[in-house]
Amino acid sequence: MQRLKAFPKAKLTAVLEMMIQKATVWVPSMIAGVSRFAPYRPGTDIQMGTNTAISPKEALFPSTEKIYKFSAYGIDGDFEPVDPSVGPQILFGLRSCDMQGILCLDDVFLTRGYVDDFYGSKREATTLITLGCVTPGADCFCASMGVNPAEHDASDAQMYDLGDAYGIIARSVKGEALVKDLMAAGLLSDTDKSQGPTADFVLKVDSEGITEKLQQMFDHPLWDELSRKCLNCGTCAYLCPTCHCFDIAEKKRNQHCGVKIKCWDTCMFSEYALMAGGHNPRPSKKERVRQRFMHKLRYFPERYGKLQCTGCGRCIAKCPVNLEITDVIKLAGEAKSDG
């Protein structure tokens, strides 16, 4: 059994300074007024206290990414791949909900026969360091979605909040290498402390059986009601750690050449499924809102065996009209099935 090692919170910058010698270290921080994960630089405004407003998925799945270059000269043309790899990187201070979110992205991008190299190469180059939560935010409900806020066993190393120090324990070869480096730098010492219990969640919902329930509710009138106030703005999807939809689009540099990009997209937009000739399988807000919640709570579990909502609460915090997934789960749970 490994013993828990720890470093004082006051030494956080020293730890990060050491880590950036070998890797890009994404830390929760405040960048130009926006709370997000960003590569640490000396002076970065680090925010360890609460989870970020924007999810850390952008470290593995950037909002816009070049996939290849093309050129076109009359009947000639060419395609030139762009190297998808990045150098070693560390996601530092990842909460359990976002670790779970990465497992959802892994299912999509790395399984079912095809690997998306753009995601895969970044995922492979990344060491994930989770941090236990002791005080959940007002919009957090991960525990209701089967996620343990105190720790997540899929990360490479787990940090614990010990009050005035962070405990750290390695869980993988990558994690061990990192802890070893910190030891060698004299930054860690043994500790007998352990993380206190996670405080009670303000927000709770009973998600038991929601997948099976939604299998009976495709034609339910609930979707008309729920979708009425949605603006189809897409904020929910862009902030979500598990939303994986992307567009493949072209950016021309000039008449002859340009780049093909892969960029975030969302089923909330009306053109998303629109086909040539004007047919749209999801023509109104009702179908689009239904798709979002059905995907999270029914289709994804059917396909990959896990819920696609990790209870991070970001969409709840930022939806301009308070269309909350916890309410959807509750209302669907209470509704009479339509058979």
Binding site: A72, G113, E250, R303
Partner: protein, 290 residues
Amino acid sequence: MVEQKINPVATLSDVKRINPLIPMKAKVTRIIDETADVKTFCIAKEEAGRFTAPFRTAPGQLAMLSLPGVGEAMFSATDAPEHLQLSIKKVGVLTDALHEICPGQTVGVRGPYGNGFPMDEYKGKNILFIGGGIGLAPVRSVVRYCVDHRDDFGQLHLIYGSRSPADLVFKYDLFDTWPAVRDFKVSVTVDRGDDQWKGNVGFVPAFIEQLRPDPENTVCILCGPPIMIKFTLGILDKLGFTPENVITTLEMRMKCGIGKCGRCNIGSCFVCLDGPVFSLAQLKTMPNEY
């Protein structure tokens, strides 16, 4: 957890060797004018002065074709050793541009995508093909397979319809190649005839009712515009075809082709990966959202 009713059977061997989102460079070697708004493009890669298919496709599989600087879209592919054939209807920005190009044009192509028709399951059966308009493109890839493996199948019957005689695609196959094949009945109809047209006039569903194909030991492969499919399904049901033996292909908007971008889902299945070929029995288990 809930049991997955659709079994993803996409063929992966070809795509895995490369990054599946990056097209291969290829050339258009030949363009066949089918109708005023449909052309068939033969696409090949050049290697040491020889042209070969960029990749081989099974009947019903798809290829993503891109014209650099314009865009890319998914098309149903017909296989041959020397090239890939895509029959493309002019309907928008990319397809308009494709209709302007000449042989020799460089294009990008990636694939093959999708499950294709489970041809082994149809061995020893009679096959009824029903196509409407450009829907004959995916049907043709199966017809060609059946003709190449003629002894594996029983009676073949194709029922095809288009708006007018001028809109019939693959006329050389419809009137020359296929009628010459053993036990292959070809029945063609048009919505509106013209002075020269001597064949049947009427919509496909009515024509099927008139021909009364026998469902006994028969698989029906059905592709065409949604309205034709809708009425045809009713008639097939009346004739006694079971949902397991009626097979169709679906079209959804597609971007990645590999089940990642989320674009083409119907419920928990992705048409690009788990489809585009589905039996009517499978469709009945899926949400009606396509």
